[in-house]
């Protein structure tokens, strides 16, 4: 009887021990195990495409312009250090990054890329934050814009072709239905141009990525302030080439580890991104 109980206890313990192999494996980075875990990545240098014009996600270190920093840059470095694969950053303007991954000229795009099912037809995604939009106004909020609904009749600036521009057009219809004038939409090709529009009183409201606009407000504390923030449904994370399935798996697991041990949250706080935007790591292949 005692032997039976001991045997049962051992069996139960062994069962518990082997019950969550995934959890056990996700706890720690193991770069030296690259050859066993992801053999197809051995000997490769992964090319990470970024646009360094977008603080705080990817930008040039003011102390040393040759050095890239930012939330996306730092977490990319951490992720691949965890996997055990060397990387090389390929910098270019944003609109050319995703085509370069699709064409095979780069392997990963890690530059504040939103997941959409359309894009997932061409690249795989591993997402871990939620996108938020911040409306930025001049100091003192002279036009009293506290939410998107207050945007009727103001001069509204957004990036060309962005989600925010689409939001303004949607609001425009609501304003007109309520008998108020629609917002005058002004588009800009890059954020510094948009900032100049706001500072020079050619626009009243500039809407863009929450983290990005927070960074801008830090640069101009006496001239700009935050009007409001909107949470979107967009999930954000690196876009990965479909031609290396093990790469996708490797990034997924590494990002889970980085999230679990708090490194992601620390990076978000360092770069002024609201930590509440953190979301569980998910893989999207369509």
């Amino acid at each position: 009887m005692r032997g039976f109980i001991i045997g049962l206890a051992v069996a139960i313990l062994c069962g518990i021990g082997t019950a969550n192999p995934a959890a056990a494996a996700a706890d720690k980075c193991d770069p030296s195990a690259l050859a066993t875990k992801y053999p197809s990545l051995v000997g490769k240098t992964i090319r990470v495409a970024e646009d360094p014009q977008g603080p705080p996600y990817a930008f040039r270190d003011p102390e040393d312009f040759d050095h890239l920093i930012g939330f996306d840059t730092d977490t990319a470095r951490a992720t691949f250090a965890c996997i055990g694969v060397p990387i090389e950053f390929k910098t270019g303007s944003w609109s050319g990054l995703l085509p370069s991954v699709i064409a095979g000229q780069s392997d990963v795009m890690w530059s504040n890329l939103y997941y959409t099912p359309e894009r997932a037809k061409q690249v795989d995604f591993v997402t871990w934050t939620l996108a938020a939009t911040r409306g930025m106004v001049r100091k003192g909020n002279p036009k009293h814009i506290h939410s998107l609904d207050d945007a009727c009749g103001v001069r509204a600036a957004a990036g060309l072709g962005t989600v925010e521009e689409a939001m303004f057009r949607g609001i425009g219809q609501k304003c007109v239905a309520a008998g108020k004038p629609a917002p005058q939409i002004v588009t800009y090709p890059d954020r510094p141009t948009g900032v100049r529009l706001l500072l020079n009183d050619r626009a009243d409201l500039m809407m863009g990525d929450a983290g990005g606009n927070a960074y801008i407000i830090k640069q101009y504390p006496n001239d700009l302030e935050s009007g409001f923030t909107i949470l979107t449904n967009f999930k954000v994370g690196p876009g990965i080439t479909k031609s290396l399935p093990q790469l996708r798996q490797a990034i997924f697991e590494a990002m889970r580890i980085i999230q679990a041990d708090g490194a992601q949250k620390a990076a978000m706080e360092k770069y002024g991104i609201d930590p509440a935007l953190q979301r569980p790591v998910e893989m999207h292949t369509q």
């Binding site: 495409a49 360094p52 014009q53 977008g54 603080p55 930008f59 040039r60 003011p62 312009f65 040759d66 390929k90 910098t91 270019g92 303007s93 609109s95 050319g96 085509p99 370069s100 699709i102 064409a103 095979g104 000229q105 890059d190 954020r191 510094p192 900032v195 100049r196 801008i216 640069q219 101009y220």
Partner: protein, 442 residues
Amino acid sequence: MSSDFVHYLISRFLLQGALLAIEIAVISMALGLTLGLVLALLRLSRPAAVRGPAWCYIWFMRGTPLLLQLVFLFDVLPVVGIKLDTFSTAVIGFALNEAAFSAEIIRGGILSVNRSQAIAAAALGMPGGLTMRRIILPQAMRAILPGISNQAISMIKSTSIASVIMVNELTFRAEQIVGQNFKFFTVFTAAAVIYLAMTSCVAIGQIAAERHFDSLRDVPRNNAGGRFDIIAARLGLRKPTRTPVERAPAVRPKERLPALIGDLCTDDAETAMRPVVVCRNVEKAYGARQVLKGIDLTVGRGEVVVIMGPSGSGKSTLLRMVNHLEPLDRGEITVDGRYVGYKRTAGGELTPRSNLAQARAKARIGMVFQHFNLFEHMTALENLIEAPIRVYHQPPEEARAIGLRLLGASASRDILTTCRIACRVANSSGSRLHGRWRCRRA
């Protein structure tokens, strides 16, 4: 603020971008100009099968945006297996695009050279390639250089387009700095100054090149030079000095030209009476207009024959047909017993041979044109020795000696060996080289 500006102006980060822009621009211009020259020559060829593809290439490459061409090379070619890195893509993309624009500029320059220059070269028996290289292109450079300099300056600045294919040149680097510190005025002004420095080098190069090719300027005989030469000398970029005026061997001062030519030509008693030029039943029509019909003519050795007739009667046409500058419709012409560039077929017809230049060279017929058609960009001496050296492969020293003796019959030898033809023509009154002299040189 100004120390900030200087800090960006000399920052290694921006200067490396400038270096990259220059590398791309220099290599692309070199490749683009070479291909552009080829395309221009193809477009100027006679067969439509050669002109057509060249025109299509130019039409397509000029007509589509450079940005799309670069993206295509970088992101679409990998689909068919051609994967290029960013630098190669940029260089190839810019070169292919530049070729189309350069081709038109070069073609325009070539067309601006008087057609008579090509005819004169053909009369001397110069093949097409030699004519293009020695006669046409040097004179076309005056028209080509400003356009090409424009293209070079544009290319240095438009390397910024390549940021979409990950080329980190000067403008993109400046944008990245501005993207994180928002000091757009300071940073962009510094970048603009760097661009200005680079493009100014091209502008200075253009001035130097134009001085070299401008045949309307008198080459100063004593090399005192203007300010530019002084600066160039200080910088160690002095132009090579022109060869000093040559002293020919002592020549009797009033040597008469016919005697001199008699000296230089071999005299063969046996062929003394043989007919040299024989035309039999020559016919020529331009379209529906019959210009010559049933012409017979025999010119013996040593004879001087004058052909007279009203304007448009076909005198020049007949003369040009002797040298095969114009094709024969019917009949035959022989020079010294041989056809010039024709062969007789089995059926008794005369058909043109392929290498006309060689045939004309072999026939050794000298021509003086109605407007003399001297090579404008060369000196009188160079005009004299060009064909002997290049076509008949006479040793240069020998040709120069003969040329100097021939020039020696005129008093102003040193002018004729240093000043280009065009500059003498440009002087109206007091010009030493009026009609009679030009006739002698031709």
